[in-house]
């Protein structure tokens, strides 16, 4: 064989070999792409189905079915969306067989060309998404429709990522589990109502006026007899409720009025001490068993409303905002306003809660967030205490001192390079605007064993030049409002960190900026006496300073004098002329705690008299039903304050959905996660927190890197290998030189 034919044969062989290799590899790739085998190597298995999701779905009374609607034409960034979301839904279905069914992904035809398909999708509640790409705006569909008897109406979840879909499904499952389906019979409804419910029967009255009706005593006796028969049925259906039937004809609530010779009765149902329902003008017990059972069942349904407490003193805050426009902005962006919007974004039903003689805090409120209580009236305090004792769940931002302007008050030298130059030359002393908050819940908390420390914690910044360029000085390029992201520029805002090991409620809270935080002093003996369990959520990290205030607490401000050197660089004198300052290392002191148990309340304590309205309410007495509650205290009344001294918003509300990991790096994100975790755990239980945390990127360092740590890190990483390389190379060169030629 000559060379050329042999070369041709080789070429033929080579082409065939390449083609065969390509074919085999393509087949393997297609097969693997379809099978999509994957390992979740993360420590918390965030790419797998969360155990919290499994528990939430397992607890549903009815199975859930998911259908994925997705456009064929999608933006480039969503090329794998159909496969990934389908895989996630299939994985969820495999994790809870029978409880969750994946009906498959339905390809949606091009929305631009077929309006029929779009109309059908609109009927199903599936809305289009739009994404702006360099090539223009792309409109497409990607949504999961979830159906379940427990959900009532089908829910549609817009798809962004597989993790988000899982979170939404778990949330819906938990909500569906809470919103229980109605039992079919009155007996079942009463049985499902559980305990904690009391029924008071208020007998009717008769008119003794002109034309005395002789039939009334007969009707009265008949109604009483029917009522007794009714009570027997109730006791049989639910002995716990049956034991709490109170027949009280002499009750002050007796309001039945006989009209035209008719006898009326009333039923008053009370759950959790304060949640009440009335059935008035009962003339016959016919059908009453069913009505009572349904009322009792509805009354005991878990509550979903989340209240934001507006104390009477709220509008008086921020008196320094003289400008009308600033005041208008403040109404919108006050902590109360922010909380209302935040809770709505988190999928709750926010309710503005006020406590007056006419309007108390009802136990329909599943969770109550109380920002900066100050100037509380006796009625407000009474209502808050009663709410807690009746099984309330409260997140309280509490403190003795308001420092809304702590990041603006100190005039600092932006050019400072050394500590001695920190304060402005013309301003050797300044004013840290601090306002003492009177009539807070300090007394109540002290009675529980939670005393508020007298002091204000301020942070010790890591870097002096960075610190002086903090929010206290607005510069065009370096101003930042994100203490978490730029801790060294945070001025005097302290940042609390989680405890070790982290509490589940703050596991994903990186660093919570707390303005004017005061440490909490726990009194174990008192807590023990009351049988309250306490857990620390957040502590001040090492390095913070605790500046003790003057014991008189009558000052409206803290005065400081600049100067000092070494470690004493911070304001040397506070409340000048009254007392020498104390600078204490506050590291490790708790600034946020969670207390659980039965909160104390005297059932015979009459509500305070409302001087303005002249109303005197009676004590709840035996009708008050105690129930264990939960109280989260964050010792920073201004944690939710976000306005600077000019009324400008220093941390805009992020456009984030319920998965609050979206803004996890910002201070706003830390606060949102804290609020979201606590409120969600109150309303839905801690499963939701587990799901959320398992889907968030982890982990993050709580305290910022110090300069020394940075240098060590970079030195080891950048210097070690080159140094070793140089040494080895020198060694080899020397060895070669010693070798005989």
């Amino acid at each position: 064989m000559s060379g050329r034919p042999r070369y041709r044969a080789f070429l033929r062989h080579a082409v065939l070999a390449v083609l065969a290799t390509v074919a085999v590899l393509a087949a393997v790739n297609v097969a693997v792409w379809h099978a999509a085998p994957a390992f979740d190597l993360t420590a918390n298995h965030r790419h797998s189905v969360s155990p919290g999701t499994v528990r939430a779905l397992s607890g549903m009374a009815w199975p859930m079915t998911a259908t994925f609607y997705v456009s064929r034409e999608r933006p480039p960034s969503t090329a794998d969306l159909k496969r990934d979301v389908s895989a996630k839904l299939a994985a969820i279905a495999a994790s809870v067989p029978g409880q969750f069914q994946f009906a498959g992904a339905r390809a949606v035809v091009d929305v631009e060309s077929t309006s029929v398909a779009e109309g059908e999708l609109a009927r199903l509640g599936v809305k289009p998404l739009t994404v702006t790409t360099p090539n223009g705006t792309v409109r497409y569909f990607a949504a999961v429709r979830l159906e379940s008897v427990g959900l009532g109406e089908p829910a549609v979840v817009q798809v962004e990522t597989p993790e988000r879909v899982e979170y939404e499904i778990a949330t819906l499952a938990l909500k569906a589990r809470i919103g229980r389906a109605e039992p079919p019979t009155p007996e079942a409804k009463l049985a499902a109502a559980g305990g904690g419910l009391s029924i008071t029967y208020v007998g009717g009255s008769r008119i003794t006026g002109p034309g005395d009706d002789g039939r009334l005593p007969v009707a009265w006796a008949h109604l009483e007899k029917e009522a007794e028969e009714l009570f027997v049925r109730i006791r049989a259906a639910n002995p716990e409720i049956g034991a709490r039937i109170d027949t009280d004809p002499a009750s002050p609530l007796r309001t039945g009025l006989p009209i035209n010779g008719t006898v009326y009765s009333h039923f008053v149902l009370v759950h959790g001490g304060r949640r009440t329902a009335r059935i008035d003008s009962v003339t016959s017990m016919e059908g009453m068993f069913g009505l009572l059972a349904r009322t009792a069942w509805e009354l005991t349904l878990p509550r979903r409303k989340v209240g934001v407490f507006h104390c009477g003193d709220s509008p008086a805050f921020r008196p320094e905002l003289h400008d009308a426009e600033a005041r208008r902005i403040y109404l919108n962006w006050s902590p109360e306003g922010r909380l209302m919007r935040m809770l709505e974004q988190l999928g709750h039903e926010p309710v503005e809660v006020r406590a007056t003689a006419e309007m108390g805090i009802t136990t329909e409120i599943a969770a109550l967030v109380v920002p900066r209580p100050s100037g509380l009236t006796p009625i407000e305090e009474y209502e808050l205490r009663a709410y807690m004792a009746a099984g309330g769940n409260m997140l309280l931002f509490h403190g003795e001192w308001h420092i809304p302007l702590i990041d603006r008050a100190l005039a600092l030298n932006p050019q400072a390079q050394i500590i001695g130059e920190l304060f402005m030359a013309g301003e050797p002393a300044g004013l840290l605007q601090v306002r003492h908050a009177g009539n807070t819940l300090s007394g109540y908390l002290a009675g529980l064993g939670l005393e508020t420390g007298a002091g204000i914690a301020v942070s010790v910044p890591e870097s002096l030049p960075a610190r002086v360029l903090g929010p206290s000085r607005r510069t065009t390029s370096l101003h930042t409002a994100e203490p978490s992201l730029y801790p060294a520029r945070a001025g005097l805002v302290p940042v609390a960190s989680g405890v070790v090991p982290p509490h589940p409620l703050v596991q994903d809270v990186t660093a919570l900026p707390l303005r004017g935080a005061s440490p909490l002093i726990l009194k174990p003996e008192r807590l023990g006496e009351l049988g309250l369990e306490v857990a620390e959520l957040l502590v001040l990290p090492p390095g913070s300073l605790l500046l003790a205030l003057d014991a008189s607490r009558d000052g409206a401000s803290l005065q400081y004098a600049a100067g000092g050197s070494g470690d004493g660089w911070f304001p040397e004198t506070l409340n000048q002329g009254k007392r020498e300052p104390e600078q204490v290392d506050a590291g490790g002191l708790p600034v946020a705690v969670m207390v659980r148990g039965q909160f104390p309340f005297d059932v015979n304590e009459a509500p305070p008299v409302d001087a303005g309205a002249g109303v005197k309410l009676s004590a709840p007495g035996n009708r008050f039903v105690r129930s264990p509650g939960q109280l989260a205290v964050v010792a920073s009344p201004d944690a939710l304050e976000h306005l600077d001294s000019e009324g400008g918003d220093v941390a805009g509300l992020p456009r984030s959905g319920p998965l609050v990991g979206d803004v996890y790096r910002t201070s706003e994100g830390a606060i949102r996660r804290m609020v979201a975790n606590v409120v969600d755990s109150f309303v839905f239980g801690e499963e939701l927190i587990e799901v959320r945390q398992s889907l968030l990127p982890t982990p993050r360092r709580v305290t910022p890197w110090s300069n020394d740590e940075r240098m060590l890190w970079l030195g080891l990483n950048l210097g070690l290998v080159p140094a070793v390389a140089v040494l080895v190379w020198i060694g080899m060169a020397l060895r070669r030189r010693r070798r005989p030629a």
Partner: protein, 251 residues
């Protein structure tokens, strides 16, 4: 094959270029992983963002590898062709594929050494995770390094194949840099394909991108399709490398 493996590895470690590459690779990974990649993502460097993950580190690898590894693989055949030692290799009683496999394994082992030079980073991240009260993400680190090895090996195979087509080391370096850089940056073309050919072509182009497969691996989601794709590039490039060398014999 083992003789070839030892010879190539010794040559790399015995030359100044090898040690410069080791040091340069570690430095580039740290600079890109700590400062460049995090800033591109969140606007803050790795220290400021305080995320105790190696996502940015692993995210930097495809780009660093596309620049550094061609400098390793360009040595595969260039010196043999230029110095005439290839003729000696060709006459040895061993198959071409054994020669190719020996060199490939040597360069991959060298890549392993380069990656080992960056081990200080994961050690510090894991210890920081532990001290922050988190469970150390050891699985993510191991998976990420396995992904680096697989991706790097595919770049080396591509570089060896390109090197077998030319006698010039510089030409081999530039061509490999363009090819590997193209594979990494390939994803940027996805939008163009969407406009022209629809989602299927976009999905294909997305799949071809080596960076697209690397992102989930860097985040601890170890998808086999990425490893299979890197393996496919490696196998195809090695097969073509063998055929290219055999063509020289037959020509």
């Amino acid at each position: 094959m083992m003789a070839i493996f030892r010879r190539e590895l010794a040559a790399l470690l015995g030359s100044a270029v090898g040690w410069v590459l080791l040091a340069g690779f570690a430095t580039a990974m740290v600079v890109l992983g700590a400062f460049v990649m995090p800033r591109a993502g969140s606007g803050a460097d790795w220290f400021t963002a305080r995320e105790l993950t190696m996502s940015s580190f692993f995210g930097a690898f495809p780009w660093v590898a596309a620049v550094v590894l061609p400098a390793v693989s360009m040595r595969a055949w260039g010196e043999d062709f230029r110095g005439g030692s290839y003729q000696l290799l060709a006459t040895l009683p061993m198959r071409t594929r054994a020669v190719v496999a020996g060199k490939f394994l040597a360069f991959t082992a060298f890549l392993g050494l380069m990656l080992a030079g960056t081990m200080m980073w994961p050690v510090m991240v894991l210890s920081a995770q532990a001290s922050a009260g988190s469970t150390p993400e050891i699985g993510t680190v191991i998976g990420g390094y396995a992904g680096c090895l697989a991706l790097g090996a595919s770049f080396i195979a591509v570089g060896m194949f390109i090197g077998s087509l030319t006698g010039s080391q510089m030409a081999a370096y530039i061509a490999t840099l363009v090819a590997c850089g193209g594979l990494v940056a390939w994803r940027q073309f996805t939008g163009v394909a969407e406009d022209q050919g629809g989602t299927l072509s976009a999905a294909v182009i997305n799949y071809v991108s080596v960076e697209g497969h690397f992102v989930p691996i860097a985040r601890g989601h170890f998808r086999f399709e990425g490893i299979v794709w890197y393996g496919s590039i490696t196998v195809l490039a090695l097969v073509m490398n063998v055929l290219a060398l055999d063509r020289r014999r037959h020509a």
